[in-house]
Subunit: 434 residues, 2 copies
């Protein structure tokens, strides 16, 4: 398609939503994509660029000059513009900022660049509608019209005093339903939730979800209104958080995607596999240490994968339940109670599984009673211990400020394999006395 017919193309893309154009662009070769971006009006192409995946965007921005990038950013909201500038190299960052046409806009973007990505400051945009508490409804509506030009979507109107301190909010609904002469002080809602600019992004997400907010004002240390966060940015935070947990559980260390290069994928996966390999060596050594059992009870060695797998599965189940409880702030009650509960539950699971194992093992596979008993007792012990480790490791990690989702990954699975095998052979040695 990209062979000349510019006008037809322009005409064709005019009607298409920018999110669809962005999707189309990811399917093109980089030079075709750059060509298309340059063809589009800046107000569309900027949205397309903001919508792209980080990797795709990097490729396309490489094909644009600093001036061209600045032209795109002039069209974007401050939060999206700051995110994109944040991805550039230090040198290009300065060049692009120098090329921004709108000085106010540039100043705001530079301010946003100061904040850490994972804080309220990193999420917020400077675009908002604010009114002074001393105005009346009429001045307010006039001012709002002027301000609203710059703001894509008006969520709430924030009320500030002369020092820009956040005092409350005003709903569009109230504004529509009150006389134009009433002073703002009589109309506005004094109770307004806000977050500090240094609040962690996931905390902001929790607050906005709990109170069902669609936008939240951000204030600095002394309560001055500095920006606002909207729910669509929070949706991204929630999704990323969930994806990170999921990847950790699966043993993938960086944020990778199926379409990344083989080298990137390997970098994300290999470290965990090496860890698992070393865990495997430990179990090899343990088994080697019990090799004298091979003479009398070779059958014991057939059960090691079963015991290891059960330990791993039980541990991951326990951890996953706790990790979700921590993520939703829904864990209550004392640690001791939780311990008792986990042990009781493991006993229940353990007895059912051990009974199945004994009956299947003795009737169908024809093992000795003593061996069956050994494996069954080991199974129950392993389940109890794996579930205790699975429950308490995430709690301890969380208390130390480490992401508890780490506990659902290969690290714990590998440890549980090792503990499981060790316990199994210790119990076997006790009962069978080899």
């Amino acid at each position: 398609i990209t062979e000349g017919k510019n006008e037809t193309l322009q005409h064709l893309l005019e009607e298409v939503h920018y999110a669809d154009v962005a999707e189309l662009i990811t399917e093109l070769e980089t030079d075709e994509a750059i060509y298309l971006i340059k063809l589009l009006e800046n107000d569309v192409s900027s949205d397309v660029i903001a919508e792209l995946d980080e990797d795709d965007r990097e490729n396309i921005l490489k094909g644009l000059s600093s001036k061209e990038i600045a032209e795109e950013l002039d069209e974007l909201d401050t939060d999206d513009a700051a995110d994109i500038i944040g991805e550039l190299s230090e040198k290009q960052k300065e060049e692009v900022i120098a090329h921004l046409d709108d000085v106010e806009h540039a100043k705001e973007i530079v301010e946003l660049l100061r904040y850490d990505e994972d804080t309220a400051g990193g999420l917020m945009a400077k675009e908002l509608v604010k009114v002074n508490e001393n105005w009346n409804v009429l001045t307010c509506v006039k001012e709002m019209r002027a301000q609203a030009e710059e703001v894509t979507r008006v969520h709430s109107i924030y009320v500030v005093d002369d020092n820009d301190i956040l005092k409350g909010r005003l709903s569009l609904k109230d504004l529509l339903t009150t006389s134009t002469r009433s002073p703002i002080t009589d109309v506005f809602i004094k109770n307004v939730d806000s977050v500090n600019v240094h609040e962690a992004a996931d905390e902001v997400a929790k607050i906005m979800q709990k109170y069902d907010l669609e936008a939240i004002p951000v204030v600095d240390e002394i309560g001055r209104l500095v920006g606002r966060i909207t729910i669509d940015d929070i949706v991204d935070v929630i999704k990323e958080e969930a994806e990170k947990d999921y990847q950790m559980a699966a043993g993938i260390s960086k944020d990778v995607e199926a379409d990344d290069t083989i080298l990137e994928l390997t970098k994300a996966r290999l470290p965990w596999l090496v860890l698992a390999l070393f865990g495997g060596f430990v179990s090899v050594s343990i088994l080697g240490g019990f090799s004298e059992a091979m003479d009398n009870y070779p059958v014991l060695f057939f059960f090691t994968p079963l015991i290891a797998a059960m330990a791993g599965n039980v541990g991951v189940q326990s951890s996953a339940i706790i990790v979700q409880g921590l993520a939703n702030d829904s864990l209550r009650g004392s640690l001791f109670k939780r311990l008792i509960k986990e042990v009781l539950q493991s006993l229940l699971n353990g007895f059912v599984l051990a009974a199945l194992l004994m009956s299947a093992g003795m009737f169908f596979l024809g093992f000795q009673f003593k061996v069956g008993l050994t494996v069954a007792i080991s199974l129950i012990s392993v389940i109890i211990i794996a579930s205790i480790i699975g429950t308490f490791v995430p709690i301890i990690l969380d208390k130390r400020g480490i992401d508890p989702a780490l506990a659902t990954g290969p690290f714990i699975t590998t440890s549980n394999d090792i503990f499981g095998i060790l316990i199994y052979f210790l119990i076997a040695k006790l009962i069978l006395g080899f």
Copy 2:
């Protein structure tokens, strides 16, 4: 606290946000919670009830009469009211609906009950602001004021024709900035995204995220406006979806929480453990079938947990990457290319790990070269096969309409364990010839 001082309590709770009251209530005994709910004004207590977890709500509603429940529901938006009624028994459902004061409201709730929970119809609320395309801005503002009374948050104003067919939308911003005499036809935006009432909830979530929408109108088969879905409901869909995937990966079959009863937790966990146990039996049989190897190469049996663990880890990694790609609609390119890529990547991982294994095994653990080679070759083969299974099982499940996240759970891990051990011993038999 709940020993008499009603007025003090009422006064105390007046200032508290309903989400905080809901949190407080989950910490109380059920009878105290019911006492507190009855003490609160209906407009607060209804929000509190809607905010509660399903289990907690069930307990509290048991303590209220059908009439009391109806009084609470009268205060709620139709979508929340319908969700709560949906949780009641058939008999109580009818009683509560009969007790609803507002007939219009009752009719709308009954309509919503018809739709499946996981569709647009199950998510939508009937509360919305709509105007006729033939009105002018002044009539429109008047009508909106009346309608807006019932709607908690005005997102968009939808424009319909005389037959209630959705024609477009109107932004509050535009309404604020145009003359009161202009006809609506001149002002409204004709291009409006909407979803069909039977669209799946996760599709709605994808659409709203892609186009960054905060609310979307829902239409029936012939295009009539029947409701609207807001982003906060979509946030819940996204979170539930992510939690479900995570739980599936961890081998938990129902939506359980850490604070559920032991029996509920066991019901969610035991089926997967039984599955893993049977998988374990299969590996016991396989190992038993190769027991003749024990005479000459007992050391082979020490490596089974290592091989099984590597197969499990690699499989889960591959599946998790594909499951996330499917969830984000970001998988591109042919299946054959994906196969080649997965094999190349596995070869890379496999060679690194095999080299580590050979050097560690021979230098530190002192195994024979032939045994080391056998284990190393098996490791590479197992990694390749596990990653192919891990990649294609979720793709196949997805094509058949089954949730691909199932593939990251114990089912695939267990299968990979079995395949891994089988391949390992087959290769050992080939090389060592026992």
